[in-house]
């Protein structure tokens, strides 16, 4: 029969009391004189339990703070195993959440009770929301593309109506003030016998003809750094040295005139309908600006424009007629033939020259 000293029972009772009342519990120091009997064995098992419980509570405390990487202690107590399971589940959920965050919505959580349903439902809704956003983004992108294309079309249209510098001014300030330009060369051309021809040809063909010729004229003007200002019926008006300052504005304008004439010569050789132009050029000062508010057009004004027009009307079929002012600038560059002079109101006599070709 084993007899137990009261103090041993008290010691154990105290330790268990501390444990159940949530206080720090430590292993019990086993008295050295305690014989190797059932009491010692009870002490040893009790201490072992305290150690295991300690590990489990440290572990659970770390988990409760979200430290999922805490290394699970070894041990066979159900409590410890359950915490380990909880850790495994939390780690797995973390992984699944990362996958979903990475855009893979196909992951599901299984066998975790109500949580599985809630989580999977959340994933489903996320997926739906994500897809909706994607669809909306796609629509937005399409709309943007349409706007970009429209803008480009408008820009192209605008470019054909207004000089680039003026468009820039409009874009920047919302308006473009009229401007005075000194020393520019104005080019005028007109088709010979246009009015007579136009009554013989059907209107659609006529417009096609004008279009195809003016397209080439535009091309040549751009090539020579000039600006096409406008067409008035069958007349074509261009200026050199306005928004783009050019020292050789007169030379470039004549070069363009020569190329246009050359183009028409070639065209007439191979084309049923033959077109001839009269060309006139004058150098001087003018004012350029936008006219109109809703249907605006960029136009040029001043005597220089009028004189250029007179040069054209006093020219001859397939001839390039230039004023004294132009002649003075280019006489070293081109072969010319002196002609008579015309009277210009407000200016007086004005000499004229035909350009024959390059020197």
């Amino acid at each position: 029969m084993l007899t137990i000293e009261e103090q041993y029972i008290d010691q154990l009772t105290e330790a268990i009391y501390l444990l159940v009342s949530g206080k720090q519990t430590q292993t019990i120091a086993i008295p050295e004189d305690l014989p190797d009997n059932e009491i010692r064995q009870l002490y040893e098992y009790f201490n072992k339990m305290i150690v295991e419980l300690d590990k489990a509570s440290d572990f659970s405390y770390s988990l409760s703070r979200g430290e999922l990487d805490y290394e699970a202690p070894k041990g066979k107590m159900v409590l410890l195993q359950s915490y380990k399971n909880l850790q495994a589940s939390l780690k797995h959920l973390t992984w699944v959440t990362q996958q979903i965050a990475g855009g893979d919505f196909s992951h599901k959580v299984d066998f975790m009770g109500d949580f599985s349903n809630a989580f999977n439902e959340m994933t489903r809704q996320l997926k739906e929301a994500f897809e909706t956003i994607q669809q909306q983004n796609k629509k937005l992108e399409d709309a943007n593309a349409t706007i970009r294309a429209d803008k480009e079309r408008i820009q192209t249209l605008l470019n054909s109506i207004l000089p680039v510098k003026v468009i820039d001014e409009l874009n920047e300030h919302g308006y473009s003030a009229p401007r005075y330009f000194e020393n520019v060369t104005v080019f005028f051309s007109d088709f010979v016998g246009f009015t007579k021809q136009s009554s013989d040809i059907d209107p659609v063909t006529l417009i096609d003809e004008l279009n195809s010729i003016f397209k080439e004229f535009d091309h040549i003007v751009t090539e020579m750094d000039g600006e096409r200002i406008k067409t008035i019926g069958d007349a074509f008006l261009a200026v050199w040295g306005m928004h783009l300052p050019l020292e050789d504005h007169a030379e470039r304008a004549i070069e363009a005139a020569l190329r246009m004439r050359q183009f028409l010569h070639k065209r007439n050789e191979n084309w049923m309908l033959k077109w001839e132009v009269r060309i006139g050029l004058h150098t001087g000062n003018l004012v350029g600006g936008i006219v109109g508010e809703t249907k605006f057009i960029y136009d040029v004004f001043g005597d220089t424009v009028n004189i250029a027009s007179r040069m054209e009307s006093n020219s001859e079929p397939m001839k390039i007629n230039i004023s004294d002012e132009v002649y003075a600038l280019v006489k070293d560059k081109f072969m010319t033939t002196q002609r008579g002079s015309i009277f210009v109101k407000g200016k007086g006599e004005c000499g004229m020259h035909f350009v024959e070709g390059r020197l």
Partner: protein, 180 residues
């Protein structure tokens, strides 16, 4: 086919036969005990004749073969590793092999920690302090080999038999490139 001598594996999926055709009344499923009855009696006799080490080697190798074939015939190789894991999870659940979960996946370094709950081989076995799912180790190594073309070390670090509720497998690349 089944009983011929061989130096190299001649296993192919077709050897499993057409179960639907062959078992019109009994169906495709057998209780888990029956599967375990076969595995553990086989293991018992093999250990008796070949010893533990060689038996484990054979189980591992057979599991690996199964893993490779499982990818070829069931899961399918995937371009993305995460998609592979997700599909694998789905099939293991559907075929009632176990509930696969990912605890850690460092794909850049090929480090994985997977758990299998309700494992076909060991869940519910007596706790003996051993990790016994050697066939599973091989199976996982085979799956990864076929999916990635790389050889992995797979070690079961927790098992129902060692007192855990899940089997936990630590996986790392062993640096051996496998061609094929």
């Amino acid at each position: 086919m089944f009983k011929e001598e061989r130096d190299e594996s001649i296993f192919e999926w077709g050897m499993l036969g057409d179960v639907k055709l062959g078992r019109p009344h009994l169906g495709e499923h057998v209780p888990v005990d029956v599967y375990r009855l076969m595995q553990f009696t086989l293991r018992d006799e093999m250990i008796r004749i070949l010893g533990v080490e060689q038996t484990n080697q054979i189980f591992f190798a057979a599991g690996k073969k199964a893993g490779v074939e499982f990818v070829r015939n069931v899961v399918g190789k995937q371009a993305d590793m995460n998609v592979f894991i997700e599909k694998l999870q789905m099939f293991l659940k559907k075929l009632q092999i176990g509930i696969l979960r990912v605890e850690k996946a460092d794909l850049e370094h090929g480090l994985l920690t997977l758990t299998v709950a309700e494992d076909l081989d060991c869940s519910g076995l007596p706790v003996t302090g051993e990790e016994i799912c050697v066939y599973d180790e091989g199976f996982i190594a085979g799956l990864l080999l076929e999916q990635t073309g790389k050889d992995f070390n797979v070690k079961e670090i927790d098992c129902w038999c060692s007192g855990d509720r899940v089997c936990r497998f630590a996986i790392e690349p062993n640096g051996i490139e496998v061609k094929g």
